[in-house]
């Protein structure tokens, strides 16, 4: 892996040994850039491979040959694929993601709004679900195989087993239609007050929390349980530590790597994978935006969304790896 560019002057070996973590981060960042480039090629090829181009799919049944030809020549769709890709890449590297072919609006501007909305929803869903999942996991370990453990398990499993749209519909039916206490639709828009926004996202947030809770909770429980059976936990118990304190002080740091990884995956899901929830609750996030764009082969938008999604996945996974390494001294000093 000689991708990382070494700072000039400093002998590589000494520099790497002095800052192993920084070296690792830089190496990962370099790799991520390559990965993003590969993703952009894949997306471009994928959209090209779909039947129909932008002009025909955008006009749909009402396409006339002349209107199709006009759109093609205006957007330069009649030029070779490679020319179009490198032209896009050249602009993107300079930070210009172009304008949407369909709406002729700036892609960066539109994505700014949509990404903001997605992050807003994901942030509050994470803020509730991550601490709740870990707390419930710890409780489940504490009361292992007793009633509270079983209740937590059954409820969270039930929540994850129902499809997310179904949970969404149930919440809408009871809280918006029957009791009339929740806001629906969850449409947020520019100029909406913060409190209003919070009210609007209450139901989608609840749905997302229910969907991601079980996964994180169960991983916390499993990881800590496996640590609990080790010798040092027995020692902790023998030296008279309280059970909860032993879990928090000794078991949790050793179990953190798998938990952080699951949390990172779920966070990524909260940002990029919630298109169904967006549709059900009429929430204007990134997922719906990208689906709309793919439907009409709006390449600049699809590319920009795809890259952002990929970047979020890569960054969150990198953050999870780094956290795991920081938390565990054995991983920090390999060999």
């Amino acid at each position: 892996m000689a991708i990382t560019s070494e700072p000039s002057g400093a002998p590589p070996r000494r520099w790497r040994e002095r800052f192993p973590l920084l070296a690792l981060i830089l190496q990962r960042l370099g790799l991520s850039a390559l990965l993003l480039l590969a993703v952009s090629v894949l997306i471009f090829a994928g959209v090209e491979a779909l039947p129909g181009d932008f002009a025909t799919t955008y006009l749909g049944q009402s396409a006339t040959p002349q209107a199709v030809a006009n759109i093609r020549s205006e957007l330069g769709l009649d030029r070779p694929v490679t020319t179009r890709y490198f032209e896009w890449l050249g602009n993107a590297l300079q930070g210009d993601f172009g304008t949407s072919w369909a709406s002729r609006n700036s892609v960066s501007e539109q994505i700014g709004n949509r990404l903001g909305n997605s992050l807003f929803l994901a942030f509050f869903a994470a803020l509730i679900s991550v601490p709740l999942a870990i707390l419930l996991g710890l409780l489940a370990v504490h009361y292992r195989n007793r009633l509270p453990d079983k209740i937590i398990n059954v409820i969270s499993l039930a929540a994850i087993s129902l499809p997310e749209f179904f949970i969404g519909y149930l919440l809408i039916l009871y809280f918006a239609v029957n009791f009339g206490i929740a806001t629906f639709p969850a449409t947020v828009f520019e100029g909406m007050g913060f409190v209003e926004r919070l009210k609007a996202i209450a139901l989608p947030t609840a749905t997302l929390v229910l969907v991601v809770l079980a996964h994180m909770m169960r991983m916390t429980r499993a990881a800590i349980l496996s640590v609990m059976s080790s010798a040092y936990m027995e020692t902790a118990e023998l030296k008279g530590l309280g059970a909860f304190r032993a879990i928090v002080k000794h078991a949790a740091p050793n179990a953190i790597a798998p938990i952080v990884n699951v949390v990172a995956l779920n966070l990524a899901y909260l940002v990029v994978g919630v298109v169904v929830v967006e549709v059900v609750f009429v929430y204007p996030g990134m997922g719906q935006y990208m689906v709309d764009a793919v439907t009409v082969r709006d390449m600049p938008v699809v590319q920009a969304c795809g890259l952002i999604f990929a970047a979020i996945y890569i960054l969150l996974n990198m953050a999870a790896d780094i956290l795991a390494i920081v938390a565990n001294p054995r991983l920090r000093h390999p060999r």
Binding site: P51, Y58, L59, S103, R114, E190, V279, V282
Partner: protein, 529 residues
């Protein structure tokens, strides 16, 4: 009889009778279509409109890719938004479909219907304060017709040869005579914009009853009443909020919880459940849209008229209307025109499900083996179910239909108008002439049944320039019979537009022109209480 129709009219005024019921009963009592329509309209309008309030609509069909340029409006969402902020030169009368003045105050054809002179309304102001002139009109029409145009109205506009001003009047010269010219200008893309929208096609500045306050593609549009509106009989609510809701269940939930006042595209499968909600009214309007099964007349095995007839007789139309439309529609007769069109040829025998006749023609055609029908959910709601139902009814006639389900993505590019036998839909057109010219003329781009008959083309062109209505009606009958008996079109049903509103929405006009009161829903209704 007069007392009875007066009684019906009073029930309309009280809001207890829909247009459908009223028309049915009034016509049964001997009133003509036009008279009944007129009576209904005046009675419906007798309710005193209330001003004020915020009207919220939850509409299907919006996408983040929607363009603000009316020339490129395609979705149902943009259709309604455009009707709120803009005006066309001509509108169509909601119940008869006849052309009525909008920004054009009046018009006059030449004797051969080739040259049309439109008088443009004076004293109308755009939202930016500028006064409407004939130059704005000319610039608009030119933008939609020039060779670089990407306008959805291009097909409609290509019969216009020259656009020019004569003083403050607009003069249009056509490539050939067309008695229906004013109706072409009702197309919803043809919104008159200041300087034709050449400066900024996306400005959303027009002469309509509402000004656009905020617009976020695929999310939401808010509009406020235009205090300087040139008309007083529209724009009753103060603000209109249109929310994009692409999920059918979300729309129903939003309506039944009272968060929105009106939704479109109610699924026929669930309409009877929605009907039970206490505060909801179903608004169904019979229209010109139809669901079709189309065969290419020039490709084997469909180049054999006996096989085509066999497939037409094998269609159980009544069952289709009941099962696929939930009863919200009417049976079709294998030609694309129904009684809502002017000069509808009455009295053509209704083709019914007849396995014996189907079997007779099938044997005569000499075809053996199965017939491949391609379909997809995007062809029309319930298209896959309809194809399977058709398979069942054809089996009783000894015809084996193989149903192939195609992916919705790319259906319009790869299957419709490409494969020899598929399912599809058509929205209506303002006139019979336009419907036939769009899809049944030999040279039409969208001739999706490959119906290429010089004799048919000749009558179509003759009828277009014919100003004598009786003669014209005869020609349309002849054309309908040709398509019905020799064409590649199987037309089992005309679908109603099924929408729903809360009960405090008043003044809804059932417009035969198009869905959602021809897009004018937000400008025509008011809120009670």
């Amino acid at each position: 009889m007069k007392d009875y129709t007066n009684y019906l009219a009073s029930r309309v005024t009280a809001g207890g009778l829909s247009r459908r019921e009223f028309m049915g009963r009034a016509m049964a009592a001997g009133l003509t279509l036009t008279a009944a329509s007129h009576l209904f309209a005046t009675s419906a309008q007798a309710q005193e409109p209330k001003r004020g309030g915020t009207l919220r609509l939850g509409l299907e069909g919006a996408a983040a890719t929607d363009s603000k340029d009316p020339a490129k409006a395609l979705s149902q969402f943009m259709f309604v938004v455009g009707r709120c902020w803009g005006d066309m030169l001509v509108e169509s009368e909601p119940l008869t479909g006849a052309p009525v003045p909008a920004l054009a105050e009046s018009w006059e054809p030449s004797a051969d219907a080739v040259t049309w002179t439109f008088k443009i309304r004076k004293g109308v102001k755009f939202h930016n304060g500028k006064e409407l002139t004939v130059d704005d009109v000319i610039a608009t029409l030119k933008r939609h017709t020039d060779e670089k145009s990407e306008s959805g109205a291009l097909g409609v506009m290509k019969s216009i040869k020259e656009i020019k001003a004569d003083g403050d009047k607009l003069v249009l010269t056509l490539t050939e005579g067309n008695a229906d010219m004013p109706l072409l200008l009702t197309d919803y893309h043809l919104v008159i914009q200041p300087n034709g929208g050449l400066d900024d096609p996306n400005a959303q500045i027009g002469t309509g009853p509402y000004k656009v306050v905020n617009f976020e593609a695929g999310v939401r549009a808010t509009l406020a009443r235009n205090a300087d509106d040139w008309r007083t009989d529209r724009g009753y609510v103060d603000t209109v909020e249109i929310i994009a809701m692409n999920d059918a269940t979300a729309r129903i939930a939003a309506l039944s919880s009272g968060q929105v006042h009106y939704i479109n595209r109610v699924d026929p499968k669930t309409v009877n459940l929605l009907k039970r909600a206490p505060n909801v009214e179903i608004l169904n309007t019979s229209g010109r849209g139809h669901y079709v099964f189309i065969m290419h007349c020039d490709k084997a095995p469909f180049d054999n008229n006996d096989l085509r007839l066999a497939l037409k007789y094998a269609m159980d139309r009544e069952t289709m209307v009941q099962k696929i439309l939930g009863g919200y529609g009417k049976v079709g007769n294998d030609f694309p025109i129904n009684e809502t069109y002017a000069l509808f040829p009455e009295g053509i025998e209704q083709r019914a499900y007849d396995p014996d006749k189907a079997s007779f023609h099938y044997k005569k055609s000499g075809h053996s083996g199965s017939v491949l029908l391609r379909t997809s959910e995007v062809a029309f709601p319930g298209a896959v179910d309809a194809a399977v139902l058709y398979q069942q009814s054809a089996k009783k006639a000894g015809i084996n239909i193989e149903v192939k389900r195609e992916p919705g993505d790319g259906y319009w590019t790869n299957v419709w108008n490409v494969q020899p036998f598929s399912t599809s839909y058509w929205g209506g057109r303002p006139t019979q002439d336009q419907m036939y010219s769009t899809a049944y003329l030999s040279t039409a781009d969208w001739n999706d049944t490959r119906f290429k008959r010089p004799d048919f083309d000749k009558i179509l062109l003759e009828a277009r320039a014919e100003l004598d209505e009786a003669k014209r009606k005869d020609m349309y009958r002849h054309m309908a019979m040709m398509v019905r008996d020799e064409g590649g079109l199987i037309l089992p049903m005309f679908n109603d537009f099924v929408n729903a509103a809360t009960k405090n929405v008043k003044g809804y006009v059932h417009d035969i022109g198009n869905d959602m009161s021809n897009g004018f829903v937000a400008t025509r209704v008011w809120l009670e209480g």
